[in-house]
């Protein structure tokens, strides 16, 4: 959680002050290694009763600058060990596979994704891929609030929450925000996440969990806006995966580690990447009132 912000911020301070950048894409593009195609899995099952999405695609050249090629006609299932749900490909959007809309996950269960009837590396032979994720239970969140603060040299909104953190489990949380029903965290790097290292088993009060930046048009708040916080419990492996994403998405720097592939729970790991996640969601709402502006 915060420890990464610490690192990021302090290391980048001098950089921000002194460094300059220059685009060298053209210089490098021709000499880059092309690698080999791998399966990319981006899918999940949640505690909501809905059609759950699993997106399958194939990796492509780094500088291809176009959407990934979807993997079509795959046989995709999600199983909890007892029931097997089949996923059907969306005819309008190849590569997107959905469960029936009445499917929901139950915390405590382990869900296994199976992908077969695919030839990702185009060698003429079909391969099978699997990925498993346990659905951890999300404890209730009592309430949330929105507060105006001055931080990082700017005015921003903090979403804070009050909750009783369970002490008997090591928990990992992701936070997503919807404003007037629209998801603000449509890219994964905007999502906030934390472990319970500093809160395990205590009543967490008024804890900032999410920042909204008013200079972004969609994050600017008006009175009577509805803010919904979705707090989700995720497995530790997914939390580590998010850290990998954070490190890799912002590009390497000499203070950080060596660049490396983000981890994956899709087997075989040398031929696949991405993540299949099972998670439990709790939702809290608040209405933006005029008092938040006065708080400093």
């Amino acid at each position: 959680m915060k420890k990464y912000s610490f690192l990021l911020y302090s290391a980048s301070f001098i950089l921000l002050t002194y460094s300059c950048t220059e685009d060298i894409t053209d210089e490098l593009a021709s000499s880059m290694d092309k690698g080999y195609p791998r399966l990319v899995v981006d899918g999940s099952i949640t505690s909501d009763t809905t059609a759950h999405l699993v997106r399958l695609a194939r990796t492509t050249d780094y500088f291809s600058n176009k959407p990934l090629e979807p993997i079509t006609n795959a046989k995709v299932t999600i199983s909890n060990g007892v029931v097997v749900y089949s996923l059907a490909e969306n005819p309008d959007k190849p590569g997107d596979y959905y469960t029936n809309p009445d499917v929901y996950g139950i915390p405590g269960n382990t869900y296994t994704l199976s992908v077969s009837n695919v030839d990702v590396d185009k060698n003429g032979e079909f391969e099978t891929y699997t990925a498993s994720s346990v659905m951890n239970k999300m404890a209730p969140v009592d309430s949330i609030s929105v507060v105006n603060v001055h931080k990082y040299f700017m005015d921003l909104y903090e979403i804070r929450f009050n909750a009783d953190e369970p002490g008997d489990t090591k928990d990992f949380y992701i936070f997503r925000v919807k404003k007037n029903g629209v998801l603000l965290t449509d890219t994964i790097t905007e999502m906030q996440f934390t472990d319970d290292q500093f809160f395990n088993g205590i009543y967490v009060e008024n804890q900032p969990v999410y920042n909204l930046f008013p200079d972004k048009t969609d994050e600017h708040l008006k009175i009577n806006d509805t803010i919904m916080l979705e707090t989700c419990a995720v497995p530790k492996e997914y939390y580590d995966f998010l850290i990998d994403i954070m490190l890799e998405s912002r590009g390497s720097d000499p203070f950080g580690g060596q660049p490396a592939n983000v981890r994956t729970n899709v087997e075989d790991k040398s031929k696949a990447t991405g993540y299949f996640l099972a998670y439990d969601i709790k939702r809290n709402m608040t209405i933006v009132s005029d008092t938040i502006k006065s708080k400093k």
Binding site: R38, Y62, T187, I188, L247, D253
Partner: protein
């Protein structure tokens, strides 16, 4: 001989036998040598010998002259003053012509009628103060060819001061990085790599106390204030048996003792920092002191910045060096020195503070004219704290702290001019507080990585032995051992690198031990006065290292020690070299070839979580490494044209089962070709110009081979590690130094220094970033990040 690491209980006896065997061997070698080592009158057959001993000092300020040479013309034998300026030479009675000399100083020749032990302490005057210039330049002793040691570089502060300085701040670490075999870890950083070693494999000693982080301001400046430093010496291999604990190098930095003749000062006012050093006698010729301080003031201009992000910041560093020395009598002298450096960065919502402190207390004692001893007590500390505001009323602070406390004893026995024996011991207790998070947030659970305690000790004996006037040997044996001490927590790690359970050891319990022999061997054969060949072998063992998988140094160092899960790292280095001087030693050249193999090399798993991790050891991966290369050096040590030209070819590779699919890969600092041209020229007595040109192959880097998309973010996919290179690096720096007019009786001497860093403003790649285009998320771009364009600076230096 086979060296193995096991816990002590089962092979203790075996190991003891090995020590005894080797020691016996060593002494047999020295006993059967053609020279008789007996100098006392005990043996009736032995000729009576008397000793000439004393100190060699700078006549102007009383500083001891480290490495000044003493040469007996009639016998063609000589010796050199040790780091305290002490020398001792034992000869048969007679009349001798003894020559005392030191580079850059006028030499003195003394006729000595030796009929009893004689103490001669004498002072040499700096070249510029000597009227008769002929004496100065003629027949200079040639240490490049003659000394037995190789792979070392001794730099004079006056040489360093002539090198163009970044932002006007003369910096000895930046000067070291211009030597063959040494590379800057990344642009602008004080971290450096020696012969394919990582930056934590360099032992940096300031007055014998370890400096754990030599960087100020993210490494753009080093912690060493050149006004307070007397002498620096870098061992790139062939590390003397008296030192150990690091695989790759020893950087031995010695502070000035303080002017014992008169009160004087020096300092400078520069673009980013100012310095002031005061020194002088407290009791003339007996007690002297030096105090040196420095502070940057770049942040004083920050309130003028247009960006708010810069305006409210505090960003500065300061450091302070202090030293007092006192001569109790001819046989006893004490030195107390200390260093304090601090970097502070602060704004409304975050702050960071870090720095080193060192303390050294030394006692020089002469048991006799032939047995010199020094006992040193050292203490060293490095810590940092990062604070971040959580909300209006609370903040979170991350603290790190490490410290050493230790005792060393070094003894030098000057047996005969041809044979000197050194022996000693050292023991250091390391205390690590690897990380703690504290906060005033209500109900906040303090997080702490358990403290770690350990004891690192060694004993050594080494002989410097001139078997014939042409053939010399240096052979030493160091035995080092390491103990983990409770209170400590050790996690058991399975073959999948997962922690299974943990064992907690009680306070004070010695729960794990490693040890090993570290032989150090060197030889030199002189073909003639101008040519010699040298060879060396050294084995070094490192028991503590830094968890850092970046290439540039950061203040957030995290050291960890050997433990039941982490074996000590071992290096074996072999080197041979040819040394040849031309033009009466005015042009000195050398070619050295080295091969180094490293065992138990540590790297980190992909995306390792190093900080604030109780199970750090599960993030480590172990394997082997090797480094090899050739270093060619041409030096111009004196005259109007001063400096050196060097070329280095070097490679460094690692092989670690769990990294890069077990395939051999290049270390991130593998930069095969490296050229340094460092030259200064005195246009007149007042005006000199300096230049540095650096070239090196771009560092090995990992570039993506493909892309994936997850959560609407494009992410790189990699195939192999470090198979690409960033662009080659080159840079030219220039400087002009204009000294004030010198007049007899004028006390104040000033000089202006104008420096230009990166004179042709090359945009050298610091890092290549692969990121999504901010306007078109579908598009990915490669960006090179570069740090410094041309940077001019001006500094005014003075002394009085």
């Amino acid at each position: 001989m086979k060296f193995e690491f096991r816990t002590v209980s089962n092979i203790y006896q075996n190991r003891m036998k090995k020590i005894i065997n080797l020691l016996v061997c060593l002494f047999i070698i020295s006993l059967i040598s053609p020279q008789k080592i007996h100098a006392s009158g005990d043996d009736e057959n032995a000729p009576v010998k008397y000793t000439i001993s004393g100190y060699i000092k700078d006549g102007e300020n009383g500083e001891s002259l480290i490495g000044a040479t003493i040469f007996v013309k009639e016998l063609k034998v000589g010796t050199a003053a040790n780091i305290y300026g002490f020398y001792s030479i034992s000869l048969a009675p007679g009349t001798y012509t003894v020559e005392y000399s030191f580079l850059g100083y006028g030499k003195q020749i003394k006729k000595i009628v030796l009929a009893s032990n004689t103490a001669i302490t004498l002072e040499l005057m700096p070249e510029s103060k000597v009227m008769d210039e002929v004496t100065v330049t003629a027949d200079r002793p040639d240490m490049n060819v003659r000394k037995t040691e190789m792979s070392t570089a001794k730099m004079e502060m006056k040489t360093i001061k002539k090198i163009p300085a970044f932002m006007g701040e003369v910096d000895l670490i930046k000067a070291i990085q211009l030597l063959p075999g040494v590379q800057s870890a990344s642009e602008g950083t004080s971290a450096f790599n020696v012969r394919g070693g990582s930056s934590d494999q360099n032992l940096i000693l300031l007055d014998e106390s370890t400096v754990y982080n030599a960087s100020h301001l993210m490494g753009f400046f080093s912690v060493f204030n050149n006004d307070a430093i007397k002498d620096i010496k870098l061992y790139k291999g062939d590390i003397p048996a008296s030192n150990g604990g690091r695989l790759s190098s020893l950087l031995d930095v010695r502070m000035k003792d303080g002017n014992s003749k008169k009160f004087s000062g020096s300092g400078g006012i520069g673009t980013v920092a100012s310095r002031l050093t005061l020194e002088g006698p407290i009791i003339k010729d007996r007690t002297s002191f030096v105090v040196s301080g420095r502070r940057t003031y770049a942040d004083m201009f920050l309130p003028l910045a247009s960006e708010e992000a810069l305006r409210d910041n505090k960003l500065y560093f300061y450091d302070l060096n202090m030293k007092v020395n006192h001569r109790i009598n001819e046989n006893n002298r004490i030195f107390i020195s200390g260093f304090l450096g601090r970097d502070i960065f602060k704004n409304d919502f975050a702050g960071m503070e870090f720095g080193n402190q060192t303390f050294t207390a030394r006692w020089n004692h002469l048991f006799s004219q032939k047995l010199f001893s020094n006992i040193t007590a050292v203490a060293s500390r490095y810590n940092y704290a990062l604070t971040m505001q959580n909300n209006e009323t609370s903040s979170v602070t991350w603290k790190y702290n490490m410290g050493d406390i230790g005792l060393k004893g070094d003894f030098t026995y000057f047996i005969i001019p041809q044979l000197t024996t050194k022996f000693g011991f050292e023991t250091v207790k390391h205390t690590l507080h690897p990380g703690e998070i504290v906060s005033d947030i209500k109900n906040f659970i303090t997080f702490k990585v358990p403290d770690n305690y350990s004891l690192e000790s060694a004993v050594y004996i080494t002989n410097e032995h001139d078997v014939t006037p042409k053939l010399s040997f240096k052979y030493g044996l160091r035995y080092s051992w390491f103990n983990n001490i409770g209170e400590g927590t050790v996690y058991n790690i399975n073959s999948e690198f997962e922690t299974t359970d943990s064992v907690v050891y009680a306070k004070g319990k010695f729960y794990n031990r490693y040890g090993g022999f570290e032989p150090r061997l060197g030889m030199k054969y002189e073909f003639n006065n101008n040519t010699s060949v040298k060879a060396s072998y050294s084995r070094t063992i490192q028991y503590m290292q830094m968890a850092s998988n970046g290439t540039a140094g950061t203040p957030m160092d995290l050291w960890f020690t050997a433990s039941p899960n982490v074996k000590p790292q071992i290096a074996n280095q072999y080197a041979v070299g040819i040394f040849r001087d031309f033009a009466n030693h005015k042009l000195q050249t050398s070619v050295e070839v080295y091969y180094k193999e490293m065992d138990n090399v540590i790297d980190f798993k992909d995306h390792a979580n190093l900080y604030l991790n109780r199970k750090l050891e599960a993030e480590l991966r172990f394997g082997t490494g090797r480094a090899y290369g050739t270093e060619v050096l041409v030096q111009f040590p004196e005259g109007k044209l001063n400096g050196w030209v060097s070329y280095t070819y070097s490679r460094t590779e690692r092989k670690i089962a769990a990294i890069n699919n077990g395939k051999r890969y290049l270390a991130p600092y593998d930069k095969p070709h490296n050229v340094n041209i460092v030259l200064s020229y005195d246009l007149s007595k007042r005006l000199s110009i300096g230049s540095v040109w650096v070239y090196s192959t771009g560092a090995a880097a990992t570039f993506p081979s493909g892309r994936m998309v997850y959560g609407n973010v494009v992410l790189p996919v990699y195939t192999e590690r470090n198979t690409f290179r960033i662009a080659n690096y080159h840079r030219l720096d220039l400087s002009v130094t204009l000294k004030g007019k010198e007049k007899p009786g004028k006390l104040w001497q000033g000089e202006w220094n104008f420096s230009l860093y990166n004179a042709y403003s090359r945009k050298n790649t610091w890092v290549v970033k692969f990121v999504q285009d901010s306007d078109n998320p579908e598009k990915t771009i490669a960006q090179k990040v570069y740090l410094f364009p041309m940077i001019p600076s001006i500094t005014y230096n003075f002394k009085f």
